[in-house]
Amino acid sequence: MNKNTVIAFLLIALSVIFFNSSLWNNFWYGKVLKKPVPTYQSSRQRTAQAASSEGGDAKDTTTIKIIPPGGKTATASPANNADSTIAETDTAAAVQLVEDTLTVETNRLIVAVSTRGGRIISLKMKDYEYASSARKKGFVDLLPTGSVGGAQLSINNESFDSVFFAVVKVDTGNGAVQTVVLEAKSLSGKSVQKEFLFADDTYKIGYTVRGDAVVNQKVTVGWVGGIEDSEASQDVPFGGTIDKRRAHYSDGRSVNHFEMSKRGKEEPSGSYRWVGVSSKYFFVALVADSLRDADIVIEGWNAAKSSQGASKGKDKNIDIDYSVYYKADATASEIRDWIYAGPGKVGELSRHGLKFEKTLFPVLSWARYIFWSDLWFPPIAEIILKLLIYFHKLLKDYGLSIFLLTLLSKIVTYPLTQSSNRSMMRMRDLQPKIAALRQKYGKGNQQKFSEEMMALYKAEGINPLNPGCLPMFLQMPIFIALFVVLRKAVELRAATTYLIPWVKDLSQPEALFTLPFSIPLYGTNVALMPIIMAALTFFQQKQALQDPNQKAMIYMMPIIMLVMFNGFPAGVVFYWTLSSALGLVQQKWLLPKPVAAPAVAEHHKAPVKKIGQHHGGSGKKSSKRR
């Protein structure tokens, strides 16, 4: 058995290494589309193209240059431009040929809107700063610098992303609502306005498109910039794979989730209320004012060189674009949307009543096909998250609330663990009898031995006290949910606690000190808590497994736990350490006194230490059998 256990653990370790290797990653994640470099046309170029397509001289297009931002304002219009409306457009646009950035600041957000395309090019969260280990500094920006940004608009496939908009109104005064209104003209000369509304105490940005150009046209609003990963990817096993960016869309009732790892494109259509992408902690969505008919395109691209420095091509994160095609509406001259751009805080998400909070814990793994985990897992995780927040409200310390959560989970599972403890004690008392039976019937008469065993169990009534293995598997969800919540809760981001003062951030792996080199699977950081936990596991294992056949377990489990947990966020490790410690306390001090049944009392002097709870016979006997 020893040899097999070692082989088993080696296989598990090898598979972990394999599934984190670039060989596998390239195979599994390599097939996503490469994003084309966004090309900007100036509005003059567009105008010239339109002119040439309308029969104008094709030579015109060659003379047009793209005006760089901050460059000189061009005034000359194409010579052969016969169409007066186009000329008008051109001159109107010509005034605005310099890209300007309008910055609006509320108490939650700092948003930059470019006059080129009227796009949102920067979305800074004032409540969140980059971790000290990240390359970027300052407030978290949900749009990567230099990205195409968000809030794109096109009408009848005519993109406005490179059109220079005129500033109609900028009201960033002291009013409750700050407004930015931008205006441009379409190729057919009709005007279109983009209006952004900003307010305090909300992560909501109003986004309205109106004007003659919208009437009876197919309007497309989009969010091409996706979402920027706010966290530095950790160069540890299990680190990079879990926090993939995800796309979600909803009709306001049910929410569909997509993970853009292998599939490049999703095109749901029908009733639409919102579509968004989420990173580990943040969420950006485009929301329709009311339920509307639309075609949606969600596309995943291989992440461009992440500014957060994805290590060694290991970045499995995918940039996600999305566009919403509103079907032509003859009457509406206004398309009202709004944008949610903020943290994945359950309170902030659920206050809009649009099921945004369902984006927090989507189940996208294979588990949903076998265990229907997409049905029961999100509610459990949500309850645990709400408890965590509630405890924090009471105690103002996340370490303490994690402690309370752990305690609560121990209390919930107390009847189960306690009854298993009790039956473990009684099994110990019974072992000598079983050993005697085995000696009596041995290998020769298996049938008789079985019968005698049955009779013994019936007489002693021991096993009926056991809860059984099924409840053990059934309580796994609670542990997994606790684990996931502590790993993903934005509330723990940059949170500290008095209980473990050397930890600077509960959402980051603890680093007591950093090694100058990386140990495979272990990483570069040396953390204290995983070591404590490994020690606790060792003692616990030593107490629980006294069968010499399972000796390998006693040493393997702590080592595996140490390696595995070293790269995990400190909050998770803290929970697990507490859980181990409480389990040990329960086992040692809360255990009931051995039930000295008169029938087995005489066997108490027998060497019970050698007896494991998983075996019918004593260790000596079972090892002989093999």
């Binding site: 079985s450 809860p467 053990m472 086992q587 019918g616």
Partner: protein
């Protein structure tokens, strides 16, 4: 050899679940316990039969069952 290794993996997995999620010893209503049963089943039975038998065993191992001596039957 391959079968032995799979048996080892099965045993290690169930044992790890016990360690990770319960941190406790005896829970099983049966003798041999579910983990040992799973290991034996993988050893002596064809894989698909073993899988079904293990699942059935774990399902039976609940607070309402009687438990008892239940070895792997070939």
């Amino acid at each position: 050899m391959g079968r032995e290794a799979v048996a080892g993996v099965t045993f290690a997995l169930i044992q790890s679940v016990k360690t990770l999620f319960l941190m406790q010893g005896a829970v099983c209503k049966f003798e041999p316990s579910c983990a040992v049963y799973a290991r034996e089943a993988v050893r002596v039975l064809p894989p698909h039969v073993a899988l079904i038998k293990i699942i059935w065993r774990v399902l039976r191992c609940n607070p309402f069952s009687k438990g008892g001596y239940d070895p792997v039957v070939r």
